[in-house]
């Protein structure tokens, strides 16, 4: 399997928002969803889940383990703008990367290369940052996919720290969310501590397990924020085409 360490690409983007988009009016809140779609193999099921409450209210969907056709299809079906960067090539030959989908205009984006490639699969991981223009207020969102526990907790913490350093001070309101692979004992606690020390709040605190596994539920996915106030959060446990369940957080707006 190969990786895409080039910071500039490949890059895919599109804008499928309606000509008179929702962005013409001030939002009452800002809802962010993070969802690892497990190699993007069940896109129709994911679209069904993302099209019904509570996920249908999402202003932003941060996705992991995606390929370009799947992102394009979901953005088209949901009427959203998107930016997508592949990180590596999966075993099935498809690209494997992170996406940001938004009902609000994406004014800037960047790929953040994470250190510590998986030595077993030579798999490279990334984060994708996008700046949204919400009625004149910039909000930066970041879709993160950390390495599996096979690289160790220390390496995953360095990946999270890389994201924190890359987006430091980029916008007054920020959301960093994704699959941090915090499955092993103590890993979630240390990850949360790292973000807390970086000035972020654990916005998805208390949602519980976010993925299924042979040993039961695991709390792999998290949402962190700075400059926004979470008012409601949850995990949508309905089938959505993945071993992960979408995690959503509704933030108060204006910030």
């Amino acid at each position: 399997m190969g990786g895409y360490p080039d910071e500039t690409g490949p890059r895919y983007s599109g804008d499928h928002r309606a000509p008179v988009a929702d962005s013409a009016v001030d939002p009452a809140s800002l809802t962010v969803v993070t969802f690892n779609l497990a190699f993007a193999e069940n896109v129709p099921e994911a679209i069904t889940a993302l099209s019904s409450a509570p996920l249908a209210e999402a202003d932003v969907i941060l996705m992991q383990e995606m390929d370009a056709p799947a992102v394009e299809r979901i953005a088209t079906e949901l009427g959203m703008a998107y930016v997508y960067y592949p990180a590596s090539v999966a075993k099935d030959g498809d690209d494997f990367g992170n996406a940001v989908l938004s009902r609000w205009p994406i004014t800037a984006d960047a790929k953040i290369n994470l250190p510590h490639d998986d030595p077993y699969h030579q798999q490279h991981r990334i984060a994708v940052a996008a700046t949204l223009d919400i009625r004149g207020t910039p909000v930066q969102v970041v879709s993160v996919h950390g390495a599996t526990p096979i690289v160790g907790l220390g390496a995953r913490l360095e990946q999270a720290e890389t994201v924190l350093h890359a987006v430091e001070g980029a916008a007054p309101s920020q959301v960093i969310a994704g699959d941090f692979n915090t499955s092993d004992p103590g890993s979630l606690t240390q990850t949360v501590q790292l973000f807390t020390e970086g000035g972020f709040q654990w916005a998805s605190e208390g949602v519980g397990d976010t993925a299924d596994s042979i040993i039961g539920g695991l709390p792999l996915d998290s949402v962190f924020t700075r400059g926004l106030t979470p008012v409601e959060r949850g995990v949508d446990m309905r089938p959505a085409g993945s071993d992960h369940h979408p995690v959503w957080v509704r933030f108060a707006w204006p910030p």
């Binding site: 030595p119 077993y120 030579q122 160790g152």
Partner: protein, 223 residues
């Protein structure tokens, strides 16, 4: 307890069962070599401290040990964990009552199921420990030790000839123990030690350490 919690508890139990494969610097040895014709077996219960993410974690680490007298001034033996084996010899260099000084080279291989900054699944260790006994009386003996171990730690891909993510470490360490002779053939030893791993690529790693108890039983070979 829900089914999910039960499964999680089982998973955690399995992790704890495997975790004693973690590298331990504990040798629980004195300087006095095992007499020729005698075999000693021991059971050790150590608690090891190691780097876990950016914090220190602690785990129990049971081991089986054995020594066999091979010559007037030397013996050989090893220690066995669930996922590792170390073998070595011990050579008595000085015997001047109440002091005994020995050196104990050893080599070992471990599988460590938890990966971390400089910790990888496949581990080979090679090094030596200098041991100094000071006998307080026929029952009590103090033991000090100084060691230098070299470790190769790599992912499982090393068996495919791929060494990405592998580490070389040098670990100077020290230990202090006290042994209580319960009977001519039975010894109880308490020992604690520290190692300061230096990753040749990434520099100094946090201190690792252990404390443990060993019950050792010696038996003369049948003739």
């Amino acid at each position: 307890m829900t089914r999910t919690h039960a499964i999680q508890a089982l998973g955690l139990g399995a992790l704890l069962l495997c975790a004693p494969g973690c590298l331990s610097g504990a040798r629980n040895l004195g300087a006095a070599t095992t007499p020729v014709g005698t075999t000693e077996v021991g059971v050790s219960v150590n608690a090891i401290a190691f780097e876990r993410g950016r914090e220190r974690a602690y785990l129990p680490n049971p081991e089986l040990t054995f020594r066999k007298g091979a010559g007037e001034n030397w013996d050989w033996g090893g220690r066995l964990t669930l996922l590792g084996l170390e073998l070595g010899t011990r050579h008595r260099l000085i015997e001047r009552s109440p002091w005994t000084v020995s050196v104990a080279p050893s080599a070992g291989a471990w599988f460590v199921p938890v990966t971390n900054n400089s910790t990888e699944p496949v581990n080979f260790r090679l090094g030596a420990q200098t041991l100094v006994d000071y006998r307080l009386n026929p029952t009590w003996t103090l033991t000090g030790g100084a060691s230098l171990m070299g470790t190769f730690a790599g992912p499982l891909t090393v068996f495919q000839g791929r060494f990405n993510g592998a580490h070389l470490l040098a670990s100077p360490g020290g230990s202090l123990g006290v042994a209580y002779r319960m009977s001519p053939s039975l010894e109880l030893r308490a020992e604690g030690g520290l190692e300061l791993p230096l990753d040749l690529k990434d520099g100094r790693r946090p201190l690792a350490g252990y404390v443990g108890l060993t019950l050792r039983w010696g038996r003369a070979n049948a003739r």
